[in-house]
């Protein structure tokens, strides 16, 4: 018995050895630990970041067998072997099907709908325009991504990061650019967590002190009938306008109807608590698990490489996507604040431009940022409810923008 060979084989087959062979996994494990630190110690969007970081950690531990990105990477939905995933895949592979089939983003939207009070937006419908203006970053990032040489489908998926809406970004990326789902999702959620750092300097740079101190008057009360009819009317209108947006808007408005109808409290409660929490665990963990440093080449039964296009997370494209995501967020904030200034001028100083930045979705964090910046300059100023209008309008706006790109993608055959 050759003890030396046994020891050598044990070493060669260990995960430690694999870390030396594929250093990319080691780097990703360090990144995962940094993200865990940010989530646990710094409290950066921990509900999402913790799952993303731990999924990343699990997927990058060599030979753990929980995630096989080679089953999915660079493949259109029709090219994925579901039989292979179910027979040979690990738990994260199976859960990841919910992302690939766009089940999780829609269920998350249902929970968001059940949690969201559209009242502030219905009380001041004109604030919805700010939710549209704050989608500017989507198109700026799209053009920049094209300039950097990305294909249009990938550029569109990158642009949607500017919508500051994680589920919408995942929904769009999984349809238009599945190979970049990991970096896009991580960029979207990371910047959402960093909104309190990204937005205030832009808001201050674009507004005068007088504008920031503007006190807004109380909005009109909204009738229950309006709140109940709204989700039904919006679903009909938006889905007729852009059928591709049906899964997102449909689920968002179904959740909201659960809430506002007042006759299905149990369903509303389940949507905004239990269901949302369960789906958040599945979504965050599996999205994190897509960020694999080294992806083995896909091979057939004879061992022949069938897909040599698999690229790991650590690439120049990833860095560029993360950079473009920041540009998208910044320009969206600029769009919202600038349109807020226009509304300030048109209304004779009745609208505080700071609520424009809340149009970037990220409910309710962006609205809280408007409140915090506004109260810093006028402590008696309560902008929170006024900012919630553009904030929830931004959710609809980013879903419409995503629906537009998906519709264009289908028309121009961008969808892989």
């Amino acid at each position: 018995m050759d003890i030396g060979k046994i020891v050598n084989d044990l070493w060669v087959e260990s995960g430690f050895n694999q870390l030396f062979v594929h250093w990319e996994n080691a780097v990703m494990i360090v990144v995962a630990c940094v993200l865990l630190y940010l989530a646990i110690v710094r409290g950066f969007e921990p509900l999402l970041l913790m799952g993303i970081a731990f999924g990343m950690l699990l997927a990058n531990l060599p030979l753990s067998g929980m995630m096989h990105m080679e089953f999915f990477s660079g493949k259109a939905l029709s090219e994925i072997s579901f039989s292979q995933v179910l027979h040979e895949g690990g738990i994260l592979d199976v859960l990841y099907l919910g992302v690939k089939l766009n089940i999780y983003p829609c269920l998350i939207f249902m929970g968001i709908g059940a949690m969201t009070d559209f009242g502030p937006m219905l009380a001041r419908p004109s604030s919805m325009i700010l939710g549209a203006a704050a989608q500017l970053g989507i198109y700026c990032a799209f053009i920049l991504a094209i300039l950097f040489g990305f294909l249009p489908n990938v550029a569109a998926a990158i642009g949607i990061i500017g919508g500051a809406d994680g589920p919408t970004a995942i929904f769009t990326a999984s349809m238009l650019a599945p190979q970049y789902l990991g970096p896009i999702a991580i960029a979207a959620y990371s910047y959402m967590a960093l909104i309190p750092l990204i937005q205030p300097p832009i808001m201050k740079a674009l507004t005068t002190r007088k504008e920031r101190e503007t006190v807004m008057t109380q909005s009109k009360p909204v009738s229950k009938t309006t709140k109940v009819v709204f989700p039904i009317a919006v679903t009909i209108f938006c889905v007729l306008l852009l059928p591709s947006v049906a899964p997102l808007i449909g689920c968002l408005m179904l959740g909201n109807l659960f809430r506002e109808s007042g006759v299905v409290d149990r369903l509303s409660d389940t949507s905004q608590n239990a269901l949302l929490n369960i789906v958040t665990i599945f979504l965050s963990t599996t999205v994190g698990a897509t960020s694999v440093g080294y992806i083995p080449k896909a091979v057939d039964a004879l061992g022949n490489v069938t897909d040599a296009t698999n690229v790991g997370f650590l690439s120049s494209s990833t860095l560029l996507i993360i950079l473009l995501g920041l540009v998208a967020f910044s320009f969206s904030t600029v769009g919202g604040v600038l349109f807020g200034k226009i509304m300030y001028a048109v209304t004779g100083g009745k609208v505080n431009p700071l609520i424009g930045s809340a149009g970037v979705s990220a409910v309710p964090m962006a609205a809280r940022v408007s409140q915090n910046v506004g109260s810093k300059y006028n402590p008696s100023n309560y902008l929170l409810m006024h900012a919630m209008g553009p904030n929830v309008a931004g959710v609809i706006g980013s879903a419409v923008a995503a629906g537009f790109f998906i519709a264009v993608g289908r028309a121009l055959e961008w969808i892989p």
Partner: protein
């Protein structure tokens, strides 16, 4: 050419054009939703106007209602509060904001009334 037959690069002018159309679609969609909201609100108001209005809307006061139901006020409650054209949820949120802003416990503050500023 804007319309492509496969995934291939598009030119910057086409990307600009696509962005312009996309941005316009978002505006059109949200402006149309504003119109939908206005119609719903108008219909809702006209429906309410058709129903005879109740005499004088008495100010809501949750504490007497609770007392009438035989409930004991929570520890720290300081009496009653009159709400004028403000629902319970909004009132609770406003009180929480004020307490947070003043950095004092909510049960040490006394609100006598909350009304919508005209």
């Amino acid at each position: 050419m804007l319309f492509l037959t496969a995934i291939e690069e598009i030119s910057i002018p086409n990307a600009l054009l696509l962005s312009l159309i996309g941005f316009s679609v978002v505006f059109i969609a949200l402006i149309s939703i504003i119109a939908v909201i206005k119609v719903i609100a108008t219909l809702s108001q006209s429906k309410n106007a058709a129903v005879p209005a109740p005499a004088v809307s008495a100010p809501k006061s949750p504490v007497p209602a609770a007392a009438a139901a035989g409930k004991v006020p929570a520890a720290g409650s300081q009496g009653e509060i009159d709400l004028y054209t403000v629902d319970d949820q909004t009132a609770a949120m406003l009180m929480a904001i004020v307490a947070d802003d003043l950095k004092v416990p909510l049960n040490t503050l006394r609100f006598t009334s909350i009304r919508e500023a005209s």
